[in-house]
Every structure is written in structure tokens, then in C-alpha cells.
């Protein structure tokens, strides 16, 4: 599988990642190599095999529903403490709507 620099730029935009020119070059080459290895998956016969999204175990009868009780919750100050910018009890970000 050959990944072009244009595809790298497209995927970087999907991933919200600014890459340098050097990184774009590097990832085009590296992702091509890794995806070539990933193509070995095509040799596997998966006819009739269910996709395994999660390791599932037997669970007790109460596994799906619990009592609807109020639990502990972080208070607002603690939740905002790591924000690079906050104010009025909210996370602040650059303006997205013009006045």
C-alpha cells in the first residue's frame, strides 16, 4: 500500500493534527510500510467469523442495570482546574461565532 503525501495531509486534517513538511514526508513512507504489513490480514479466512469488538465475559443478572442513585461528581472548580483558559464557570476557546 503506497500512501502519498497528499493522503497524509488529508488524514492529518481529519485527525486535527498540524504536521511539519518533514513529518508529512516521513509518515508517507512509514505508513506505506506499516499498511503493507497490515495487508497480511487479507490472507486470513474470516468467512463466518463475527467481528470481535470487545472481550465479553459471563455476567450476573445485575450487569446491565443498576439502581438509579445519585453518585459523587466533580465540582465545577475541580473540573475546570486544568483548563488552559476558563471563565464564568466555563471552558473558554477562541471565538467561533462573530457578534
Amino acid at each position: 500500500m503506497k500512501i502519498s503525501e497528499e493522503e497524509v495531509r488529508y488524514v492529518a486534517a481529519l485527525a486535527n493534527l498540524t504536521l511539519t513538511g518533514e513529518e508529512i514526508q516521513r509518515f508517507a513512507a512509514e505508513l506505506s510500510g506499516i499498511l503493507t504489513h497490515v495487508e497480511t490480514l487479507n490472507e486470513a479466512d474470516t468467512e463466518g467469523v463475527e467481528p470481535m469488538a470487545q472481550v465479553l465475559h459471563e455476567a450476573g443478572e445485575t450487569a446491565t442495570l443498576r439502581e438509579d442513585v445519585e453518585g459523587e461528581c466533580l465540582d465545577r472548580e475541580a473540573a475546570l482546574a486544568n483548563a488552559p483558559l476558563s471563565g464564568a464557570g466555563c471552558f473558554k476557546v477562541p471565538r467561533v461565532v462573530e457578534r
Partner: protein
């Protein structure tokens, strides 16, 4: 008192007999850890106030005649992807250099309730992505056994802290081998329990269908004690299992004679050199203990690396989307628009390996590729799990290598990401199937580099795994 040779059990006895106090142990452990850190870089931060407060609480309980818990006074190191309230948790990333968690992980709460004394947070590959600890934004960890070599990864700091003797036990996390491989490289015991056995509440998510928390220790017994403390259902982690937690330590001494062990043919075909010799010598020891050894076949092994690196990067690209400059401390200062803020924060904050995996994960999930890569990988994961289910119809445990080679030199493999991924082959299969697996030391190469042997058992049969590992450890030492 040489704390480097103490076990959890010995500390308990010593405390009970008033040979030493928990505060004395904590003080000495902190002194050793801080003094040794310029050499190993195993710790990213120390928590002397928290450690001494926990130690004082243990001493006070003892003075009142109360049971101080199974980990009473035991110095513990915690991998820096596991949240500790009020204590900086970086995930080995520049992005979280100043992140102070507002809550504790469940595993941390449980080990402190059991009397454990947290010395500090250990270095690791950024967001637990790596097999050498060279992807930490805060510099690599040096292997205490061979300082020019890597400690393995991603939980390299935890493995090094235990190998170096500053911590008696440690918490690590394992997604594709991040506990077992560094345990093997540093010559300590490392355990990846059954998926769901230990709550991940407070573990920074990397690949949620594969992430585990597990113990490091210098003996199988201490690993069993620590797992017993942290295991069990937690309402805060919906994926944590309801299965009751046995008293692992009490079940260690059971019989292993007659246990049926399988050697997966596919794991030994390409294995060479001293690693092969040492693992086979370990198998001979198990035979001498009366185990019946036979070959088994696990044909999906050849697809495991491809399967794992599709699934784990897909999940990582999603989990790491949250580091966008809004909530988690770092924000690029040179951004006018919201989108620039997201992109620049992430572009400046993430290291190369994280970016590589985010890119790969985003690619395999992107329109037009989802079925060919992600869905196909999930089906292949089903094949890997089926291999294990079939093998465990014939045998009680599987015995395998942990890594194709012992600890390599710093910088030796950094330029070839695919080669680094391929070296995870023996640990990845167990992660995909979610079975319990562990590395137990089985000797050292002529150059003195430790090698671990891997033991894998059925879902929730940690007891059987520990029993076999314990019998092996007793016979081998």
C-alpha cells in the same frame, strides 16, 4: 535494613514485630528512589508527603492493634498514566506536563486502602505507546541491569523501579505487552490480568478494548498480593468484571503436577539464540515439576501484529481526540481560530509515535477503508480468540516467550517503527484474546541480560497462572 531485598510479606512481619516502622521504610525508599533517579530516570515525580502520610496511617493502625492491610507499609511506584489526585500525571507527554488530576484511579484508592505507600509516578512511553520507553517526552528510562539498554516499554519506569529495588511493587498498564515485555527486560515479575479483572477507572485511555492495569513485583507472591488488592468489580468502570476475586496468595502453593501445558508451535518457530535456550530450559523445569507438555497450534498468530496495530491505533485516534487544547492544560499560544487551536496544540504537543498512531488509526477508520481494515481486523481478532479457546480445551496453560530478544541498546531500533511493532508478537495475542498472562524471570543471557518466560491461562484463571509461575520460581531459584 536493606529495603531492596524486602518483600510485602517480610514488611508485614517486620512491622508486626516492631523491627521497623512504616515511616522508616517509606523514608528510606524515598531516599533510595530519589538518589537513584539520575541513573535510571525511572520516576517522573515523587510524592514524599503522600507517602509519609500513608506510612504514618499504617503505623497508627498498628499502634491501635488494627490490621493495617495486605500491603501495609509497602513502597509502591505508579505508572504515570494512572491518575493520582493532586499529584501530577503526565502520561509521558509534553501535553500533560502540568496536568494535576482531580481524582484518584480506583486501583490507586484500593492499594492505599490496603496500606500501600505511593513513592511517586514512573516514566513511560507517551500515552503508553512504545516498546522501549524511548517515546517519553521526559527522556528514556535506563535499564537498571544494563544502563546502556532500554528497560522495555511502555511501563519501563515501573519495571525499572522494581528491578532497582526502590519500589517493592509497582502498577503498570498493558495494552499489547507493556507490562510483560519490560518485566522480561528488567528481570522482574509482570502480570497482565484478565481483561476486566482490574478497574480502569482513572487509567488514561489508549485502546479501550485492550487496556489493562496490572502489577510488577520481584516475586510471584507479591504480584499475587497486589493483584488481589486491586482486582474486582468497580461500578465506575462498566467493563470491570463481576467475577469474585479469589485469595490469589493463599492459592499459590497448590499442586502443579499433572498440569497440561501447551507450547504454541508458531511462537517457537522463529525464536532463536539465548532467548530460545532460556525459555526451553524453563519448559524443562516445568516438566521436572510434573507438568505434561505438548505442542499446540495457534495459526492466527501470523496475523496478530497487523490485527493489533489496526485496532489499537483506531481506538487510540479516538481516545486521544480529547487532547485538543480545551480541557487538558496545554494550548498552543499561536492560534487565532478554534480549528487552528486544536491542530496546533496537538501538532506541537504530541510526540512522533503518538502522531504516527493517530495518523494510522484515523486512516484505517476513514471513509472507504473502515471495512477493509478495521472490520477485517476485528474479525481476525475473533480468529485469535478462537485459537486460545481451542488450545485451552486441550491444555491448562500456555508457555511462551515474552520477547524475541532481551533488552536492546538505547537508540538501536528507534528509526524503524515497523520492526519495533513486530517485536511485540508474543505479547499481543494474549492481549487480543483478553486472557491473563504474565512474565516470570527464567534466567539471563551470557551478557547478564534477563529473559522472561510467559505463562497464559484461561479467562479469570489467574490462580492457575500464579500457581504455575510460583512453582517455577521456587524450582528455578
Amino acid at each position: 535494613m536493606d529495603i531492596r531485598s524486602l518483600s510485602a510479606g517480610r514488611i508485614r512481619e517486620g512491622l508486626a514485630a516492631r523491627e521497623f516502622s512504616a515511616v522508616e521504610i517509606a523514608t528510606e525508599a524515598l531516599r533510595l528512589a530519589e538518589a537513584g533517579n539520575p541513573r535510571t530516570n525511572a520516576y517522573l515525580s515523587f510524592s514524599p508527603e503522600r507517602a509519609l502520610a500513608a506510612a504514618r496511617a499504617v503505623d497508627e493502625k498498628l499502634a491501635r492493634g488494627e490490621d493495617p492491610g495486605p500491603l501495609a507499609g509497602v513502597p509502591v511506584a505508579v505508572k504515570d498514566v494512572i491518575l493520582t489526585k493532586g499529584l501530577r500525571t503526565t502520561c509521558g507527554s509534553k501535553l500533560l506536563e502540568n496536568y494535576i488530576p482531580p481524582y484518584d484511579a480506583t486501583a490507586v484508592i484500593r492499594l492505599e486502602q490496603a496500606g500501600g505507600v505511593i513513592l511517586g509516578k514512573t516514566n513511560c512511553d507517551e500515552f503508553a505507546m512504545g516498546s522501549s520507553n524511548e517515546n517519553s517526552a521526559f527522556g528514556p528510562v535506563r535499564n537498571p541491569v544494563a544502563p546502556d539498554r532500554v528497560p522495555g516499554g511502555s511501563s519501563g519506569g515501573s519495571a525499572a523501579a522494581v528491578a532497582d529495588g526502590t519500589a517493592v511493587v509497582a502498577l503498570g498498564s498493558d495494552t499489547g505487552g507493556s507490562i510483560r515485555q519490560p518485566a522480561s527486560f528488567c528481570g522482574v515479575v509482570g502480570v497482565t490480568p484478565t481483561y476486566g479483572r482490574v478497574s480502569r477507572y482513572g487509567l488514561t485511555a489508549f485502546a479501550s478494548s485492550l487496556d489493562h492495569i496490572g502489577p510488577f513485583a520481584r516475586s510471584v507472591r507479591d504480584a499475587a498480593v497486589l493483584l488481589g488488592v486491586i482486582a474486582g468489580r468497580d461500578p465506575r468502570d462498566a467493563t470491570s468484571a463481576f467475577a469474585p476475586v479469589p485469595d490469589y496468595a493463599a492459592e499459590l502453593d497448590g499442586k502443579v503436577q499433572g498440569m497440561r501445558l501447551g507450547l504454541p508451535r508458531e511462537y517457537f518457530e522463529g525464536l532463536a539464540g539465548e532467548t530460545a535456550q532460556l525459555v526451553m530450559r524453563g519448559v524443562d523445569t516445568l516438566k521436572r515439576l510434573g507438568c505434561q507438555v505438548r505442542e499446540v497450534s495457534m495459526p492466527a498468530t501470523r496475523y496478530a501484529i497487523a490485527c493489533y496495530y489496526v485496532i489499537c491505533t483506531a481506538e487510540a485516534s479516538s481516545n486521544l481526540a480529547r487532547y485538543d487544547g480545551v480541557r487538558y492544560t496545554a494550548r498552543s499560544p499561536r492560534s487565532e481560530t478554534l480549528q487552528d487551536m486544536y491542530r496546533n496544540t496537538r501538532g506541537e504537543g504530541f510526540g512522533t509515535e503518538c502522531k504516527r498512531r493517530i495518523m494510522l488509526g484515523t486512516y484505517v477508520l476513514s471513509a472507504g477503508y473502515y471495512d477493509a481494515y478495521y472490520l477485517k481486523a476485528q474479525k481476525v481478532r475473533g480468529l485469535v480468540a478462537r485459537d486460545f479457546a481451542r488450545a485451552f480445551e486441550e491444555v491448562d496453560a500456555l508457555v511462551a516467550p515474552v520477547s524475541p530478544f532481551p533488552a536492546f541498546e538505547l537508540g538501536e531500533k528507534v528509526d524503524d517503527p515497523l520492526a519495533m511493532y513486530l517485536s511485540d508478537i508474543y505479547t499481543i495475542t494474549g492481549s487480543l484474546a483478553g486472557v491473563p498472562c504474565m512474565s516470570v524471570p527464567c534466567g539471563a543471557t551470557a551478557a547478564g541480560l534477563p529473559v522472561g518466560m510467559q505463562i497464559l491461562t484461561r479467562h479469570f484463571d489467574e490462580s492457575g497462572m500464579f500457581r504455575l509461575a510460583h512453582a517455577f520460581e521456587q524450582a528455578a531459584t
